[in-house]
């Protein structure tokens, strides 16, 4: 497995030196997201492995890249779905939880982890992809005193694309399961 080293954040006075590589923010756990999106509705894990044809077909229909052939999904007793997925953008790499109704409509979205590249690394999806599956404790921590970050507004259109990909995945695969 590829090893990677995270640099140390150093502060000089009020200024942070631009050495941080990847900033990660952790939000709800999978369990909390499930509780928020589906409350006590019971659900069972479903193994979903997309074939090459299905991946191509979803890419065509949604006009978005399909990176993973495996889908982390649960089917609820009411025929709905709870899906954990990743969205890769130009600047951000995000874990999301999505609830789809039995008709394939989006019932809710929660962001579980948000990661954004800083500093000297190339902000390329492939570079970000190496963090797939890493525990958040391996990421760089910002100064504890910084609870919030302000900056130019980053569009969440990659989430929109990711959700579009998942609703097409439902249409082509999940609704037949």
């Amino acid at each position: 497995m590829k090893k990677f080293f995270l640099k140390v954040v150093a502060f000089v006075g009020l200024a942070l030196l631009p050495v941080a590589d990847l900033y990660a923010e952790v939000y709800l756990s999978t369990e909390q997201a499930r509780e928020v999106l589906w409350q006590s509705t019971s659900m069972n894990p479903v193994t979903v492995v997309l074939t090459d044809e299905q991946m191509d077909s979803i890419e065509d229909a949604s006009d978005t890249r399909v990176y993973n052939d495996e889908l982390k999904a649960w089917k609820t007793e009411t025929g709905g779905w709870f899906i954990i997925d990743q969205v890769v953008g130009k600047h951000e790499y995000i874990d999301i939880a999505v609830a789809l109704t039995k008709d394939g409509k989006v019932k809710g979205i929660e962001i579980l982890q948000y990661r954004e590249a800083y500093g000297s690394q190339v902000r390329h999806p492939k570079w970000l992809a190496q963090f797939l599956g890493k525990d958040h404790t391996e990421y760089l921590e910002l100064d504890e005193q910084i609870k919030s970050i302000s900056g130019a507004t980053l569009s969440s259109r990659h989430i929109t694309e990711g959700i579009n990909r998942l609703t097409h995945t439902w249409d082509q695969v999940l609704k037949h399961l």
């Binding site: 005193q145 919030s148 130019a152």
Partner: protein, 293 residues
Amino acid sequence: MLATQSATNHIKRCKPLLGTYVEVSVSSESDDNALLDITGYVFSEIQRIENLMSFHNPDSELSYVNREAYRHSCPISKDMEEVLTAALTLSKITNGIYDISIAPTLVRNGLLPDYLPNVDDEQANWQDVSIVNGNISFKRKALLDLGGIAKGYAVDRALCMVENLVENITVNAGGDLRMKEWSGQSVGIKASNAKGLKSIIRTPMHQAALATSGNYYMDRNKNSIIHSSTKKAVKDKRSVSVFASSCMLADALTKVAFLDINLMPIFNSYGAKAISVDENGKIQDLCEALENG
């Protein structure tokens, strides 16, 4: 062992709303479920404001105004009236440097969708917008965009709705944020150098709200801050951050600070503070910069 009742509990939650990532963090003695409910109210309120003020949504109240207000006077919601009145007041004070009728240029530049009536860039400005007794009308064909103010308003509304239920709360809509207990807190401000590499600069909170504008997430040649008289995009490498008592004000004033440093005296009258962060991460107080020439 007995559980300590005074233990403070935290929840940080994030959803895609207002076209960006909206983060809500709350702390209180309540349990996780209560905090999840409270963050739920915050997101619902933000969604409500988005449904009213989105330019991208053809069914929003703003789209209705853009379609109809030239033809006849249209009744508007209290929320819309508050935001538009604040925007028009700022236009008046800045002699039109801040102008929400810049939308046709943003449509032409591909930054806003093109489904509303065609309006020339030069056709109308803020002075053609009139609000009387909760009704709006345009003297000339116009398109309004609230992209530079409504996000801040949504943050304010959502925070004020629940702040009495929690010890502390921060609502951060893609960099436009407001804190309940802000005194003594620090925030990080994103900076970007000439090569597009980002860093985070730490600075103390000076007011309850903070908003930042910059071009570093934009594609080349697509800048969202437009000069109202020249209709040209501002290609500034700096980012500008404004601290103010409300997030709506901070959001709107970042555009003013970006467009004309000579308007800094306005910031004093609003009790706001503007700083810029340059490509090397150096912070400059813009009011002091104006005084020192």
